[in-house]
């Protein structure tokens, strides 16, 4: 069964920060994950792979904050929307066949980015 993780931030996290967060989340001994795809295209797919790692990501998309209402648990407080009443949503999908540890890497990377960019890392539903 696939697992999905969301990162919601007021500012758009840069691609370099995502790469660093993924590298940190995989551990110091691991090879740097490969990130294939166009990070700047909100409609693209990023394929994140490495030894024991497979994550499919949707790059940050500028979505209306109201569209995220009710997407997460009651204990999750979304960041304050920007002037367009929008937030940046990044999605990590860990496919059902992904190596064990991929989900943990996605979760840790998003929590890292959430702390750096005043956002939240959450599981939808």
């Amino acid at each position: 069964m696939s697992q999905e993780f969301h990162l919601v931030t007021r500012e758009r996290p840069p691609g370099a920060a995502l790469r660093r967060a993924l590298r940190d989340a995989t551990g110091a001994q691991a090879a740097e994950p490969e990130v294939d795809g166009d990070f700047d295209n909100p409609n693209a797919y990023l394929n994140v792979s490495g030894p024991g790692l497979w994550i499919e990501m949707e790059p940050p998309g500028h979505v209306e904050a109201a569209d995220l209402d009710g997407s997460y648990g009651d204990d999750v407080t979304l960041p304050e929307p920007d002037g367009d009443r929008c937030l940046w949503l990044t999605i990590a999908n860990v496919p059902a066949g992904a190596p064990a540890g991929s989900a943990e890497t996605a979760r840790r990377a998003f929590e890292d980015l959430a702390s750096r960019y005043d956002g939240i890392a959450a599981t939808p539903g």
Partner: protein, 295 residues
């Protein structure tokens, strides 16, 4: 909750931006409150619709294209027939009944879409519980998901039969032939039969779409009469064996290539061979099926 539903089916791939422009122009002319505001292929929708960048909007069809209006009261969804067995692309529009919705204009929208989108079939209907096929309601048009109705008219289902006669219907050449020809459709006992072009008709059951919810006896009587006239065995629940047009699949028309690494089943291989024998050039493979992506 949506209660006004339109679904349009065409053999066209719908990837031509001009068809997209026509569709959006017609929505703007007839039902401007349904115009796109945000679009994308996954929700929440990630893109703001900008008419000046229409091509970007329509190329979303590389996947599926979804949009919603500014007031969050209407949505649009386009599915192009990219699968090997797909016979029809579709456009689904649905919205809430509110003061901004011009119900009579929906009928004009559906009719005007007929020729430019080369419609094979189209439906316009309002939701009514009697048209649900769930929970023993006995209808054929709507399903329910968590209490929210959806129009359950699908490309796959049309391979077996039509679901029902909706309040407004477009019947294109495949269905006109199925019913026995243009004269048969022209003489259908409907409140309105409009000829949209050669072998393409718009049939409307009653004079007012609100009869769907407000005058069920009139709607049902008209529906039964039209079904009987066109052929009850063309509609779900009719006497078997049911009939439907046999439309060519995308693979048969040279519109699909197997991804590299894909084991092509025998039935698809036959369709591909048929396309090749007819000199059709399929598109390049869309991708590669990786047998095991685990590093």
């Amino acid at each position: 909750m949506p209660s006004a539903f339109v679904k349009l089916f065409t053999r066209s791939l719908l990837t031509d931006p001009e068809q997209g422009r026509t569709l959006i122009r017609l929505i703007g002319e007839h039902e401007p409150s349904w115009l796109p505001h945000r679009y994308g292929w996954s929700t929440p929708l990630r893109n703001v619709y900008d008419p000046d960048r229409f091509a970007e909007f329509w190329t979303g069809l590389e996947y599926n294209l979804d949009w919603r209006n500014a007031k969050r009261t209407a949505t649009g969804h386009v599915t192009t027939r990219v699968g090997p067995r797909d016979t029809l692309s579709s456009v689904t529009l649905e919205g809430e009944r509110n003061r901004a919705l011009d119900l009579p204009a929906l009928a004009r929208l559906v009719q005007d879409c007929g020729p430019p989108l080369d419609l094979a079939y189209g439906v316009l209907h309002l939701f009514h519980p009697d048209d649900l096929y769930t929970a023993g309601h006995g209808g054929h048009l709507f399903g329910e998901n968590g209490g929210t109705p959806f129009l359950g008219v699908t490309e796959r289902g049309l391979k077996d039969c039509l679901p029902d006669v909706a309040w407004g219907n477009v019947f294109g050449p495949p269905y006109v032939a199925l019913f026995g020809g243009a004269e048969r459709v022209r003489t259908a006992p409907a409140a309105l039969v409009a000829e949209l072009g050669p072998d393409r008709f718009y049939l409307q059951l009653t004079g007012d779409i609100t009869d769907v919810t407000g005058d069920r006896p009139a709607l049902t009587a008209a529906r039964d009469a039209v079904k009987e006239h066109l052929g009850a065995d063309c509609f779900a629940g009719g006497p078997g064996p049911l009939r439907a047009p046999r439309l060519p699949a995308a693979a048969q028309e040279g519109l699909w290539s197997p991804p590299e690494g894909f084991e092509v089943p025998d039935d698809l291989r036959e369709l591909l061979d048929q396309a090749a024998a007819e000199g059709k050039t399929p598109p390049p493979p869309a991708g590669v099926i990786e047998q095991d992506r685990r590093p």
